[in-house]
Symmetry: C2
Subunit: 212 residues, 2 copies
């Protein structure tokens, strides 16, 4: 309805602003606790020389996640939504006002932990990255299809725990994704052990070349 139409207009304005500054913008989505912030921490620890990033964090309450990012020396702006279970383009526009857009190559937006609503709100970003942790079960792409249909990349996270979770099959998770007629890439990572993080950096580099 009117709400989504207004959001779309604001998202287009956000994207134009981001494009004018040559910023690749990634919308990170997942269930609560799937490892979005941990992935950003692992990304920062292995950041290629000269790559400048910033983060917009979305949560109902607390500055916890922005503080974790700032502790590693990277700019992070925290949006607290109060009760909304997803970010929208208007909240992100206010966040952009708080950042020096001339000093950023990649902007990460860590959305509110929710495997449904966030997929429906364009923020003005370029790519949707959906995280699925091995601890949640490999059936989630089938049970929460709205989110996984929207994914440009699916990251299977916490792979260091796989030896303790014999019932999780990365192949089954990918099969469920494919059944949604999605040809999104899939990368398996561990923010703790570092597995797959180089592939994640390669994907980001490819996307930067594609968008700017």
């Amino acid at each position: 309805g009117e709400l989504l139409a207004a959001n779309r207009r604001q998202a287009e304005a956000n994207r134009a602003r981001l494009d004018a500054h040559g910023i690749l913008t990634i919308n990170l989505m997942s269930s609560p606790g799937s490892g979005k912030t941990a992935l950003l921490e692992a990304t920062i620890r292995t950041l290629p020389a000269g790559l400048r990033i910033a983060v917009i964090e979305g949560d109902l309450e607390t500055e916890n996640d922005a503080e974790r990012i700032r502790a590693l020396g990277v700019t992070a702006h925290q949006i607290t939504t109060g009760t909304a279970c997803h970010l929208d383009a208007h909240l992100v526009a206010l966040g952009l006002d708080q950042l020096d857009l001339d000093a950023i190559d990649i902007l990460f937006i860590e959305n509110v932990g929710n495997l449904v609503c966030p997929a429906s709100f364009d923020l003005g970003h370029h790519r949707n990255v959906t995280l699925l942790s091995v601890t949640e079960g490999d059936d989630k792409p089938a049970k929460y299809p709205v989110m996984f249909r929207a994914a440009d990349l699916m990251l299977i996270t916490k792979s260091d725990l796989l030896p303790h979770l014999p019932e999780f099959s990365p192949t089954r998770a990918e099969t469920h994704l494919r059944r949604l007629a999605r040809d999104a890439e899939v990368i398996t990572v561990s923010a703790k052990g570092g597995d797959g993080i180089p592939l994640w950096h390669e994907w980001l580099a490819r996307e930067r070349r594609h968008y700017h």
Copy 2:
């Protein structure tokens, strides 16, 4: 507004119907994959003699969870919401029509995996049980307060994984819950190993005596 008022009226009608049959009704909520269905499977495997249960499952798509319950010989009705990220009293009323209410002592409603919206919709149930898995992080009660404020019981799940997750502290999780001025009980369980399941059965028995 009007939507929540209509939901409240339907919830009262549902609760009157459930009370007339002496049924204790539990609303199980959590993030996707925190172990709601696994908890129900463990509950069924250790069901006290003579206790009759049924399950209403809520998901966007698939019959997966209801099939897991039916595979253990317990009645389960699956609600598929399509896009809604939470159950409401109207959907539950339709589910009640599919059950033999004279054959049930405890009805479990497994809500859609979402740590925000489901807490705001009364289904006509008696108690809210919120699951927090050790794999999600102990900060969730602080970051998703709407859900944890509504909890009558918090179950910390997948405790068998604790040896592999040194950064999760059950004490910190409980402290975050208490800071919300909530005196809800906390029980730590493992659906896989069976730890804590007897305490969960004891809590259910106490609640049945309290309500009927």
